[in-house]
């Protein structure tokens, strides 16, 4: 449950009673119109994918105080079977963490990731932007095409640029789908990230100037990266921007 608590903007007691919930509703209601709550609720409920605030704002009447309404809605749902969570900087309703036992029938049995794929994913997530050779250097094995393809298929990693070094290798990073899948609001919520950074194991080995102590999926390229050419761009998973929303 701790993971869930991290994601919530407003901390609350998991076992908060229904009547307590009503109190917080009343507080929120002071600045939020009930009708706006209905609209926002309907919008977010209807979508299975997280929606960003811009999209929400565009759908709602202009006078709605989006932030306050979101917060009030999050509060209302905090103790329920469905929660309003923030993933990858966007908003979505998700079933509560503690109810996974109930929903096993709904679970899509995912292709089980091999150990190689899981480790590769972790290296990319915690060390991004990172090249294939760097991943191989850390793991001490060549990355098989199968492993790489499986990860690309998950849609969790993407090619993001090219490193400005000889050979101009492609750099990889994680996607929004990655954050959404693991319920992370941003990369800084990666579990164990601080320890890993503190250990100094993330730096070193790379020539000075290429150390990347803090992972970033900021689409803006680093200084040592240059853009992919159009030909590379979608080589990986390639959703053209308008399709990301689906």
């Amino acid at each position: 449950m701790t993971a869930l608590a991290e994601r919530r903007v407003i901390p609350h007691d998991e076992l908060q009673s229904r009547s307590k919930r009503k109190e917080s509703e009343d507080r929120a209601a002071a600045s939020v119109r009930p009708e706006d709550l209905r609209l926002l609720e309907a919008l977010l409920f209807a979508a299975s994918e997280p929606l960003d605030e811009k999209t929400l704002a565009a759908r709602l009447p202009p006078e709605v105080d989006l932030r306050a309404t979101l917060r009030a809605l999050q509060n209302e749902y905090a103790s329920r079977g469905v929660n309003l969570v923030r993933v990858a900087g966007k908003w979505a309703f998700r079933t509560a963490n503690d109810l996974s036992w109930l929903l096993t029938k709904e679970a899509v049995v995912p292709k089980k990731l091999s150990r190689a794929a899981i480790e590769t994913l972790a290296v990319i997530a915690y060390h991004q932007p990172v090249t294939r050779v760097e991943v191989e250097e850390i793991r001490g094995v060549a990355m098989s095409k199968g492993t790489f393809d499986v990860l690309m298929e998950t849609g969790w990693i993407r090619p993001r640029g090219r490193r400005k070094t000889p050979g101009r290798p492609i750099t990889y990073g994680t996607t929004e789908a990655f954050l959404s899948h693991f319920g992370l609001e941003s990369l800084s919520d990666l579990p164990g990230l601080e320890e890993l950074q503190g250990s100094g194991l993330l730096d070193g080995r790379l020539p000075p100037g290429f150390t990347v102590p803090t992972p970033s999926d900021d689409p803006a390229l680093r200084e040592d990266e240059e853009p992919l050419e159009p030909g590379d761009l979608d080589l990986g998973l390639a959703p053209p921007p308008e399709r990301v929303e689906e």
């Binding site: 993971a3 919008l43 409920f45 209807a46 979508a47 299975s48 994918e49 929606l51 759908r59 979505a92 309703f93 998700r94 079933t95 509560a96 963490n97 996974s100 709904e106 679970a107 899509v108 995912p110 091999s114 150990r115 190689a116 899981i118 480790e119 994913l121 972790a122 290296v123 915690y126 050779v133 191989e136 250097e137 850390i138 793991r139 001490g140 094995v141 060549a142 199968g146 492993t147 693991f182 319920g183 990666l190 579990p191 164990g192 990230l193 890993l196 250990s199 194991l201 070193g204 080995r205 761009l233 979608d234 080589l235 998973l237 959703p239 053209p240 308008e242 399709r243 929303e245 689906e246």
Partner: protein, 282 residues
Amino acid sequence: MTPDADIKAMETVAAEFAERASGEPALVVDVEGFEGPLDLLLMLARQQKVDLSRISILALADQYLAFIEAARKLRLELAADYLVMAAWLAYLKSRLLLPEAAPTEGPSAEEMANALAWRLRRLEAFREVASRLMARPQLQRDVFARGDPEPIADIKRPQWSATLYDLLSAYAAQRQRRALAHVSVAPRKVWSLAEARAALERLIGRTEDWHELDSYLLTYAVEPALRPTVLASSLAATLELVREGAMEVHQHSAFAPIYVRKRHAPAAGSAGAGNGAPSGID
């Protein structure tokens, strides 16, 4: 541990290893299911039951080499990477055991051992965060999105969806299929030293001096019958690299060992000594 007990223990490990790998269809133990020499070293290191930062690399090298011997006894076919690592550990061991005669160029044996320990720690750290990541509640496994979403209007979608990746992989896959339908490539038996070095570079990072190492690589990583071929083809490849200025090679006299090393970029400063050596062989 007595040497005998050590060998015994390694045979157990090797058997376990064979079992783990038995689910693999290929002859080669590595690649999909098993995670390479560093993985094996980590497993062996854990048997020392000490903090990874205080691990004895010498003991680890012994264990690893014993493992390779045991695996050979069991006629277990090991992927080339394991043998390359064995060669390197044998080399490292010899350098750790002999007092360093004079300060040589490049890292000392101790530095190399530390680098290996550091790599093992780093691998373990990534393993740790990987498992923590996977333990998080995952979408559609632990937490669920609306199962029956209602379409939202202003999300535009193209009617036909296909990504460039789909396109390119479809192209590549069918060209590949047709190409291979015409030509069948026999599995290669010859493993060149250059490949061994490339594998080693991936395993332990760049190495300054290859010359001594090559004899180890030949011993461990190359089928005995193929050694002359491999040596010849790798010499040819080396000369090509020398011609391109990527390598330096010299030999003190006919039939003496051939010394080869990477040519440093002029800025590296250490190129002077190498350039002084006569680079003509043949």
